[in-house]
């Protein structure tokens, strides 16, 4: 099972701060993104390749190739705007 978190504009667009994704367990970040895009609507729109979003795996910035394992915490969010 993966614990997937959404922040800021993505949290609002998806209407939830987090969810559990388990079967099938995506093997890497790209597989997770494809799974989410396949939901269509705001999911395919907000996570489109033309949109700017970032992924962290276990609180570290990740890339599309980053492998995922059961128990991982994945966060998907827009580019950060603090400071």
């Amino acid at each position: 099972m993966l614990n997937v978190l959404y922040f800021a504009s993505l949290r609002e667009a998806f209407g939830k701060p987090s969810e559990h994704i388990s079967s099938p367990l995506p093997t890497n970040v790209e597989a997770l993104i494809l799974l989410l895009r396949a939901r269509g609507g705001v999911w395919s729109e907000s996570l489109g390749a033309d949109k700017r979003w970032r992924v962290a795996v276990n609180q570290e910035m990740a890339s599309m190739e980053t492998a995922l394992n059961a128990g991982d915490e994945i966060a998907i969010f827009p580019p950060v705007t603090g400071g």
């Binding site: 922040f7 915490e73 827009p78 705007t81 603090g82 400071g83």
Partner: protein, 163 residues
């Protein structure tokens, strides 16, 4: 071991809703350490970009589990590059208004060049790597602030230049 072989101190890193007192933080940072030759500081403030008619409030959200980790790593990276005796990073979350303080970075070093460079480096990476997001509430409604290309440029110059 950082340049100069100076024993390093754990930096002070806090994320909080309350305001901070720059003078008190600076006094705490330099307390009794006669190796410190200078402290470079940066205080970020909420700007009213639209001449009073614009921003009424700003709401800052963050990713708690990641924030501390990201800030510690940014300070550690600065310490690899410059002599940093001690550092403080404070970032506020929650609702803020124009002229409110948002962020404080203090860097104490033996020599001013190190403190200036490390302080600016920490701010640049905080802007592009630390998981904070700003939402503006204006008379025209609410909207999430877009990331600025100039912040990416500011970050990437540290990766190419020979400080």
């Amino acid at each position: 071991m950082p340049p100069g072989g100076i024993v390093t101190t754990m930096p002070t890193i806090r994320v909080q809703t309350e305001d901070f007192d720059v003078g008190a933080e600076m006094t705490a940072l330099r307390a009794g350490n006669a190796k410190i030759g200078g402290i470079a500081a940066f205080v970020g403030l909420v700007r009213d970009v639209n001449d009073g008619a614009g921003v009424s409030t700003l709401t800052l959200e963050h990713y708690p589990a990641m924030t501390q980790k990201a800030l510690v790593e940014i300070v550690d990276q600065a310490r690899v590059r410059w002599e940093v005796i001690d550092a403080t990073v404070i970032h506020r979350i929650g609702q803020l208004s124009p002229t409110d303080q948002i962020v404080l970075v203090l860097v104490a070093s033996g020599h001013r060049g190190d403190s200036f460079q490390a302080c600016e480096y920490i701010m640049d990476f905080l802007k592009t790597r630390a998981p904070f997001w700003k939402k503006e509430s204006t008379v025209d409604g609410d909207h999430w602030v877009s990331a600025k290309k100039s912040d990416d440029t500011a970050t990437s110059r540290w990766q190419t230049e020979q400080n």
